[in-house]
């Protein structure tokens, strides 16, 4: 059983690479924050790297402002750097920053994006270590149901060392505009075998690359159910 996907546009950002081509070939640059130009003035304050990256890649998609898309945000670790700061603050000072706490929820990018674009379209946020696979599935099903375009935005920032978690250095994000028809055709299929996404950075880069090309390509997005992998096949 497969789920059809139509990719109408894509974008990519890495803190360590100037372009998608550089990310794919491993040409690094000095660490650079995203521009996230959709947020202006006070809306930019206290935003985390993961939020900034989400906003940046969403802002680079060819969205029709007259018909705001629904949004699906996917993140394995969420606002993990903000959580680290909040915990340190209350341990040290018995107070936390209200602005930082307000932006500590996993759906902070979703809220900021909807305010910045004045969009009342529904939005959801998928998390956990299979967030890339589950995010694709959620976005594809939403696009089939909604009759409107759907943005899938995937991003993660490095996990602070104190968490003793994954050790990725770079912040990375990719976004895809999905529709019900047209664009780059692909499908999602659930295939036997478990897959651990050990390198989400390269997976996102290859996704964005495949969406922009015309060759067939299959990418394992990770385990979507025990012993089964979700595969994204560009056809």
């Amino acid at each position: 059983m497969t789920t059809p996907v139509h990719v109408l546009g894509s974008s990519f950002f890495s803190t360590h690479h100037a372009s998608l081509a550089d990310a794919l070939t491993g040409v690094e640059r000095p660490v650079t924050p995203p521009a996230y130009a959709l947020l202006v003035g006070r809306a930019r304050r206290f935003t985390s790297l993961v939020t900034q990256m989400h906003i940046d890649v969403c802002g680079a998609l060819p969205v029709d402002a007259a018909e705001p898309p629904l949004t699906v945000f996917a993140t394995c670790h969420g606002e993990i750097q903000t959580a680290d700061i909040l915990i340190a603050d209350f341990h040290t000072n018995s107070v936390v920053s209200s602005a930082r706490f307000a932006l500590s929820v996993h759906n902070s990018p979703s809220g900021l994006y909807s305010v910045a674009t004045a969009s009342q379209a529904p939005s959801t946020t998928i998390t956990g270590d299979n967030a890339i696979a589950a995010g694709w599935l959620e976005a594809a099903l939403t696009a089939l149901d909604a009759g409107r375009n759907v943005i899938l935005s995937i991003a993660d920032e490095p996990v602070p060392a104190s968490f003793q978690g994954p050790t990725e250095r770079a912040g990375v994000a990719a976004a895809f505009l999905l529709g019900k028809c047209g664009g780059r055709r692909a499908e999602l299929a659930i295939v036997p075998g478990a897959t651990t996404v050990s390198d989400p950075f390269h997976l996102l880069a290859h996704m964005a690359d495949a969406a922009a090309r015309s060759e067939s390509k299959a990418l394992a997005l990770g385990t979507i159910q025990p012993g089964m992998t979700l595969e994204l096949r560009f056809v």
Binding site: M1, T3, G78, A83, L86, I87, A88, D89, F90, H91, V95, V96, S98, F101, A102, L103, S104, V105, H106, N107, S108, S110, G111, L112, S114, V115, T117, A118, S119, Q120, A121, P122, S123, T124, T125, I126, T127, G128, D129, N130, A131, A134, L137, E138, L141, T142, L144, D145, V159, S162, F163, Q164, G165, P166, I190, I224, Q225, P226, G227, M228
Partner: protein, 395 residues
Amino acid sequence: MTSGYPITGAAVANCLGSDNRTVFEHAFSGAETFSPASEFAALPFPTQLGIMPALDNVGELDCTPTRLAAVALASARQLVPAVRAAVERWTAPRIAYVFASSTGGLEETERALAPDPARLPSGAGYRYADHGIDATSRAIARYLGISGIQMAVSTACSSSFKALASATRLIEHGLADAVVVGSADSLCRTTIFGFHSLGLIAPTATQPFTADRCGITLGEGSAYVLIERATDATRRSAIAWLAGTGAASDAFHHTSPHPEGLGGQLCMRQALDQAGLTPNQIDYVSAHGTGTRLNDAAEAVAVSRVFERPMPLTATKSLTGHTLGSAGLTSLVLAIESLRRQEIPATVRAANLDPELAVAVVDKRTPAKIQHVLINAFGFGGSNASVVVSQSPRA
């Protein structure tokens, strides 16, 4: 959604009790179960908390024994008979699991990162991968014996209703025949200090929709439902029907609601449309009702605009506290019980209702003919979701 989705199992646990029977008994009698905050943590400000009783044994789960796991297990344990019947009907790989949480086990991380381990012991041996949403949700899925699609949703206080909507998509598109939708959030210091920093924590027990309401009482809890594809067998097993879901964004402010609850209006209307119901067919609204001045005012405006009559409304957070990512499903399970009992649970501490809010707050346990209930769950980020639950399928 044609006839809707049969709900064939429902479970809840929170400060009212660790099992359905106790929760329902306390909820419908209006029991006061909030505790002094000092029973959870020493805080430099006054407040009460909805602390779960008897959080002890998670030995049944093959995961690190976190507070989140214990909170989740209290509900999941009660769902076992319904899930076993569903596994017999569909097989384990056809039963998906969508889990919702806002804080996702942050309490263990707080302990692990404490500069003085003596203040918050038990963080020793902390491993990031052993805590939080994944570890708990996978362990619960294994415990329930289901092996379908697994995903986790986190949209603050609307999380569990977003998870419910995701579950319906999995069934609708043939990727699952049944879905366990679970939600859990455990108390942690980050949320207590955080809501306090925003001036949203009530120093005494929360009083939603009253003139002197002054904030939230935070709680912890879990709630689970099992929804299935409609067949003759699942129709017979249905305890209620998921008739419609709706979702919309406020697009106004990250933490403050639109003054007229525009996102709330949109998602209530969407849920009604999907359920094929008019506003007049809803018997009461189970409000998000957090007890903050702005949230209750905005929700009251939204409800009055959608229903255009003094809508009977109850705020179950006056009983359970605000269980954050689990709030929506918690209210849903209580609404399912109200359909069974044909009674509306009271909003407690509602003696001094705000005359400026055009809603008919139910302030005592009220027998009523109830066929359809609309439930709201609104959250940070202007994330709004509504659900309609019905006693029987759509005609």
